[in-house]
Symmetry: C2
Subunit: 178 residues, 2 copies
């Protein structure tokens, strides 16, 4: 609970300072909406399918790539830690929705792939999920949606450029919403 260094952390602050409050307010609104939508999706996945958002995310990533993904690619695409993916994958394997396949020529690596059952299950889930999102964001009309998509796209891209947060040398071509 102590600032490790009182160091003058002057990070080339953008402009004067009046805008500050506005962006904070905006951030709180964004947070509120995204938490509401997430909570609602999580709840519905739980009640209607006995599943979770992280599981859904993993299945979605694998659904896009029929060849499967390495553990490290998976954690790169989903932007979560390596150890985290291990646990989620363990459970999905136990449920019979995915399999771990050894990689030819590299005994360290593992490729994770959907089983047939996994593919079917996800197809079902994805359709319902899309309908849910459409319903939950129903207040946003098409014009606004378009505007927001491009606006948020620029912000997200800016992050990627600034950070290059790609830890494991992931390919990063599977983000799916680009």
């Amino acid at each position: 609970m102590k600032p490790k260094a009182p160091g003058p952390e002057k990070r080339t602050l953008p402009s004067v300072g009046a805008v500050s409050k506005e962006r904070l307010r905006l951030w709180l609104r964004i947070l509120k909406v995204s938490r509401f939508v997430e909570a609602e999706l999580r709840e519905r996945l739980r009640v209607e399918f006995g599943s979770t958002l992280p599981r859904f995310d993993v299945l979605a990533a694998l659904y896009r790539d029929d060849t499967g993904l390495r553990m490290s690619e998976l954690s790169g695409v989903l932007r979560v830690s390596n150890g985290n993916v291990t646990g989620i994958v363990d459970r999905l394997v136990k449920d019979g929705l995915i399999v771990r396949v050894p990689v030819e020529g590299d005994r360290r690596a593992m490729i994770v792939r959907l089983t047939n059952r996994g593919r079917e299950t996800f197809a079902e889930l994805a359709a319902v999920h899309e309908a849910w999102v459409d319903e939950l964001l129903g207040a946003i009309d098409p014009d606004e949606a378009d505007h927001l998509i491009s606006l948020f796209g620029t912000i997200a891209d800016r992050f990627e450029d600034n950070k290059t947060r790609d830890v494991q040398g992931g390919k990063g071509a599977h983000d799916g919403d680009s």
Copy 2:
């Protein structure tokens, strides 16, 4: 385990089902941005202050209310489960930033309040936090911010109306971003 009803969600739309995809895309963008910002804030809180976002949220809620909040009010304001708050509060108490005070006349209830140290600590944190958010959302200019604040506000309000997710009869006047 089965979608109860895929209900034909046809709202006076220009094209048949094209909007659906748009809202899904938008949702993925929102999610991406909010996860990036959250991850960055969490990381900075950890590195610079040895703290976390949930702790910050609790302190923020208490900072607004000098009289303190009951456990149930706290979980209502933060929209997290009761049991969750218990754990976070335990740790903050152990750190000496807040205290649990018995409620006069109701031996079940507890009021949680900032200590002086807690108040000072949070004041520091809040200032830095605001600067971070301003920096992270720097790509959004004031006009857009204004527009987005009101847009997201409508969506958030719609949720509150639709759900009345207020579990413990919370006062709901402390959301702070209204």
